[in-house]
């Protein structure tokens, strides 16, 4: 795998071998092997849509590996507000830096940016479409726990219709012979076109409405938040959200060894009594954002091979 000069726009662009290689590299970075690798490199963070959490994760990744950061976090001070086209903004910024990290509310904005930039563009979220670094950090966390991505039993719970993290993660895991259990209310099921694409060898899935219907223990349960805005009626939301809340007592159904993951921020879909159990790995998962983003920044700038 040589990603030098490549943009990271969508998990779809990555064959299985490259996904595995990026994940391995992220864990190598976490072990301390590439300290200072980004020395002298400049990252431009362009957040047309604010996301403090994601921006800090990228900036922290860059700075703690020796790099520097320029950019804007508030679209109101950017040139986009003055009517400049996205392509022109990118053409300008590309001359100031070695790599661009961009978040935008418009779907496909990162693809467009990667076509006009002369430096690599890393997509930090484009509307409801892709957020590939989240997928890589999720995969790195699974690899760290199990020592492999191949052949795991993975449940995904909650809002599987609108949650872009579960779409991208399931597309990637489908390449590794995953046994999926998709657990969602009828109105928030995994979209048909996403299911159709889960065609990797040995990959299979079941769709159920409730963790009580699981007929096998899970290796991983990936929990997502069910948002109020998806329901016209507040009482209906309360009823549905309550049925998809995971706590310590859920472990009996999920398997005592199950690892619970969540993209964070959590509201109340995971009860806090789970936090101190060895099953809860969602904070470690969030922390893996730093080495995963460092690995990607290093790979695309050619400072990590």
């Amino acid at each position: 795998m040589d990603l030098k000069g490549c943009s990271i726009v969508s998990i779809r662009d990555f064959p299985k071998e490259d996904i595995q290689a990026v994940v391995d590299k992220a864990l190598e970075v976490k072990s301390g092997k590439w300290a200072g690798a980004l020395d002298g490199k400049v990252l431009a963070t362009l957040f047309f849509e604010p996301s403090t959490r994601t921006r800090l994760s990228f900036e922290g990744a860059m700075v703690s590996m020796g790099g520097r950061v320029i950019g804007f976090a508030d679209p109101n001070i950017s040139s986009a507000k003055k009517g400049e086209s996205l392509a022109d903004t990118i053409r300008t910024v590309t001359g100031y830096c070695d790599v661009i990290v961009m978040r935008h509310n418009i779907e496909g904005a990162a693809r467009l940016a990667s076509q006009v930039a002369t430096v690599p563009v890393i997509n930090a979220g484009d509307g409801s479409n892709q957020h590939p670094t989240q997928t890589f950090l999720d995969l790195a966390t699974i690899q760290e726990e199990f020592g492999r991505l191949e052949g795991l039993k993975v449940g995904m719970l909650g809002d599987l219709k609108y949650g872009r993290t579960v779409h991208s993660l399931s597309l990637a895991l489908a390449l590794f012979g995953t046994k999926f259990s998709f657990i969602a209310p009828p109105s928030l099921r995994m979209p048909e076109y996403t299911l159709e694409q889960l065609k990797g060898a040995d990959t299979s899935f079941i769709e159920i409405g409730d963790i009580n219907e699981l007929n096998d223990s899970l290796d991983v349960l990936y929990v997502t938040r069910i948002q109020k805005e998806r329901f016209a009626d507040f009482q209906e939301y309360e009823r549905v959200a309550g049925a998809y809340r995971i706590g310590r007592d859920s472990l009996k159904l999920l398997g005592e060894e199950v690892r619970i993951m969540h993209p964070l921020p959590r509201v109340d879909e995971i009860v806090e009594d789970l936090d101190k159990t060895p099953n809860a790995i969602y904070f470690r998962q969030a922390h893996n954002g730093i080495p995963t983003r460092q690995a990607l920044l290093g790979l695309v700038t050619g400072t990590i091979q």
Binding site: A87, E107, L112
Partner: protein, 152 residues
């Protein structure tokens, strides 16, 4: 179909006959080919067809449509066959070539897609095989099952 009725449709001294269009798409085909104002066009609708059940036929007089033009039908009428006629003889017979990529040919229906916001040329890739292709927008990555509806 009798020989007489066949003649009614195929008798053409020079031009292009587009056969095996799934019914009722003849008018849509004429629109997509952009030949509405190109002289005499005869449209036949609902002919019996062993292959399609019912088919439409479009006859364009005195115009030999190139593959670049007729391939625009790929997503609407992939089963269509093209017959180029000279001196009442078929001089060329060809099928529709379904390309793997469509640039600037389709409109992405997603209002939040960058192609609708930044005025970028649209770009779709084909995903499905056979006569029922689906397409994916390379920008917003959405998949569309009725790509014929996206033709601009």
């Amino acid at each position: 179909m009798t020989e007489d009725s066949k003649l009614k449709v195929y008798a053409l001294e020079s031009g292009t006959v587009i056969d095996h269009i799934p019914s009722p798409l003849a008018l849509k085909v004429v629109e997509i080919l952009g030949v509405q104002h190109e002289g005499i066009i005869t449209i036949g609708i609902n002919f019996p067809s062993s292959q399609l059940g019912r088919k439409d036929v479009v006859k364009v007089e005195n115009l030999k449509l190139t593959p670049a033009v007729t391939d625009r039908m790929a997503l609407v009428a992939p089963t269509a066959t093209i017959n180029i006629i000279e001196k009442s003889q078929v001089v060329e017979k060809r099928k529709i070539h379904i390309p793997n990529e469509f640039k600037g040919m389709l409109r992405c229906p997603n209002p939040n897609c960058v192609t609708n916001v930044e005025g970028v040329t649209t770009h779709f890739v084909r995903e499905g095989e056979g006569s029922k292709p689906t397409v994916r927008c390379i920008y917003c990555e959405r998949v569309y099952r009725q790509p014929g509806d996206l033709v601009v």
